[in-house]
């Protein structure tokens, strides 16, 4: 008898050891359930983060732009509009009103992790006879790089956008026949042309973006797009990308600007991600429920089998609370041991998956990292489920009338 364990633990462990086959079966069931949860969670997290990274690689989670110009109906003092047809106004490039103030306001929000001003507008990039329509993006590299991982995408040259430098995509570089160090002409849709030196070439893995986006210094873009001192948008990232829409609405409520989150601009993608998360949650719930029912059923049988022993324990001075704890401990221990084996099994499944799910070139299809947190949560969760599922049989055992139990 282990002198470092109290009565309840000694009784619980002996009961489990005595019904070893039942105990092993239910531990195996819990282990299998936990392994499925661990494997599926890691797989889905990996898949989602891969899709997510690809989507948010080249766009901020929240973009603040000036409110759209709206044509107002002409009214002659009464309720009836005088003009029969109302044409929507064309949108000109405008600056976010008092953008520094808006930026400072956003910076103070606890959920915001990075904010950057951006000047963006249409233009043309030309070299010799070749000319391509581009989207000129003026950035402040320090803050912009905290939102868009542009540095990681540089495949030639380096990330530098001083007054005379420009960063272009691989597609545009091919179309114009330029390489790092070459000059190209950049001009806005209407305005003066400027000659810039290609300092770096990026590859976002997206043909459209590689052919269309060019990055210059914020001041260069301001001057070219006739937005001196202004910015066309403020971009920001928040701690939890899935709460971006909530933050966007908070910002919109506090400022007179239009705020778009990636959730509204990528509605279909977000819906697909949410559906995936929900289906995973459902699967986890039902696997957990199955494990819980397994533990509960084993303990219910155990209570019936041991009713005489429970009766005699009660007769010799064991309280209802002690009996309750004996069975709760059994549930918790079975849940915990099952979850430990399940975590190990899940890790084996993941390792197997990494070996199988590969691209034709041998590289990993997408990165799956099973974070230690996942195993900790699975273990704590399964232990709690074990305790909770033991609650009903434990109450039943505690409430057994000792006189009836002893006499059978």
């Amino acid at each position: 008898m282990n002198r470092y364990l109290p009565f309840e633990w000694i009784a619980a462990t002996r009961f489990m050891r005595n019904g070893l086959m039942q105990t092993l079966l239910i531990i195996s069931g819990v282990a299998l359930g936990v392994s499925v949860i661990v494997f599926m969670s890691a797989l889905l997290t990996g898949l989602q983060s891969n899709l997510f990274r690809r989507t948010l690689d080249y766009q901020a989670q929240i973009v603040i732009i000036p409110p759209e110009d709206v044509a107002r109906p002409l009214r002659g003092g009464g309720p009836v509009a005088e003009a029969a047809i109302l044409q929507p106004r064309s949108q000109r490039l405008r600056s976010v009103d008092q953008w520094q103030k808006v930026r400072d306001l956003i910076r103070r929000m606890p959920e915001v992790v990075a904010v950057t001003p951006v000047v963006s507008g249409p233009g043309f990039a030309a070299r010799g006879d070749a000319s391509k329509a581009v989207n000129i993006t003026g950035i402040e590299p320090d803050s912009y790089l905290r939102i868009i991982a542009l540095r990681d995408k540089i495949v030639a040259g380096h990330l530098s956008v001083s007054n005379a430098e420009i960063i272009i995509g691989t597609e545009l570089a091919n179309d114009l026949g330029v390489k790092v160090g070459d000059k190209l002409s950049l001009s806005p849709a209407s305005g003066a042309m400027q000659t810039l030196i290609v300092s770096g070439i990026f590859d976002f893995g997206n043909k459209g973006i590689n052919g269309r986006n060019v990055y210059v210094a914020l001041r260069v873009a301001q001057s070219m797009l006739d937005l001196a001192g202004g910015v066309s948008s403020i971009e920001l990232n928040v701690r939890d990308p899935f709460l971006a829409e909530t933050t966007a609405q908070q910002i919109a409520a506090q400022t007179n600007v239009q705020v778009d989150s990636w959730i509204t601009t990528n509605a279909q993608f977000f819906t697909a991600m949410s559906a995936q998360t929900m289906s995973n949650t459902f699967i986890r719930f039902f696997v957990g429920l199955t494990a819980a029912l397994g533990i509960a059923s084993v303990l219910v049988v155990s209570v019936v089998q041991k009713s005489k022993e429970i009766g005699i324990l009660r007769a010799m001075g064991t309280t209802q609370q002690q009996i309750l704890r004996v069975f709760l401990i059994q549930g918790g221990v079975m849940g915990m041991i099952g979850s430990l084996f399940g975590s190990a099994l899940g890790a084996v499944f993941l390792s197997f998956w990494r070996g199988v799910a590969k691209n034709p070139d041998g590289t990993q299809m997408f990165a799956i990292t099973a974070e230690p947190r996942l195993f900790v949560i699975a273990t704590i969760g399964a232990t709690l489920i074990g305790v909770l599922s033991a609650a009903a049989p434990a109450r039943r055992a505690a409430r057994l009338d000792p006189a009836v139990a002893i006499r059978g």
């Binding site: 282990n2 005699i312 010799m316 001075g317």
Partner: protein
């Protein structure tokens, strides 16, 4: 013996105890009808009666496994009517030892651990002192050599001896024995009964033994007869008294 007993303090006292089942329904059945009973320290009494006379019900009440419908029940001087379940359980643990027809040893534990079990349940954590007490008790019932054997590895008589040692673990003033030899062959039954008597005479533990076995009842100091929920006879067993006086 009876005179000595009457001078000793009561370990059990019942005052006008009634017990009914199905109270308030059309099938209300009164099982015990006004029981008055005193068991004093060191007494060795048999409770006899035909089937359905209320012996088991009375034993459950005295063992604090059930509550009386009315009347008062004192265990070791403490009135039990107002106690909650936990207090009753604690009082039961320290004041009453049980020996049943079947030993009901916990098969997960060794003989020694079974004897330690009441101490462990009461104090919470195992200790060397508990082990020493349990070893002493196993020695008293002649099973020290079997201390590490599981209950299932012992004979019926040995199991019942372990159950007696277990009942003595908390040094209770009273042991309730329900047909303690009912499941044993004659030889083992005699051995177990002799052991109960030895415990009674050496430790002064009071015994109330429920039995159908008249031979066994005739070896007790006092015989209480229950018929239809009433005590119809409560006499010292003169045969034993005379025999002991002759000794």
């Amino acid at each position: 013996m009876a005179d000595i007993a009457s001078a000793a303090q009561p370990v059990l006292q019942l005052v006008n105890v009634h017990k009914s089942y199905g109270t308030g329904t059309r099938v209300e059945q009164e099982v015990l009808r006004g029981i008055d009973l005193v068991l004093r320290k060191g007494e060795f009494a048999a409770l006899i009666g035909p089937s359905g006379s209320g012996k088991s019900t009375l034993l459950n009440l005295i063992g604090l496994l059930d509550r009386a419908s009315s009347g008062q029940l004192f265990i070791d001087g403490e009135e039990t009517g107002a106690l909650d379940d936990t207090s009753l359980t604690r009082l039961r643990g320290r004041s009453i030892g049980f020996v049943f027809q079947h030993s009901y040893l916990l098969e997960e534990f060794t003989a020694l651990e079974n004897v330690m079990m009441p101490l462990l349940a009461t104090h919470g954590w195992p200790s060397e002192a508990m082990r020493t007490t349990a070893l002493e008790l196993l020695g008293r019932v002649g099973l020290e050599r079997w201390k590490d054997h599981k209950a299932t590895e012992l004979s019926g008589g040995q199991q019942q001896r372990v159950a007696i040692a277990r009942a003595l673990a908390m040094k209770p003033p009273m042991i309730l024995a329900d047909e303690p030899t009912g499941n044993l062959d004659t030889r083992s039954a005699d051995g177990v009964f002799d052991l109960l008597r030895e415990v009674n005479s050496h430790l002064g533990t009071s015994f109330l033994i429920v039995t159908h076995d008249t031979r066994l009842a005739q070896r007790c100091d006092r015989i209480i007869e229950l018929v239809d929920g009433r005590i119809v006879s409560d006499q010292p067993n003169l045969q034993v008294v005379r025999h002991e006086a002759g000794d």
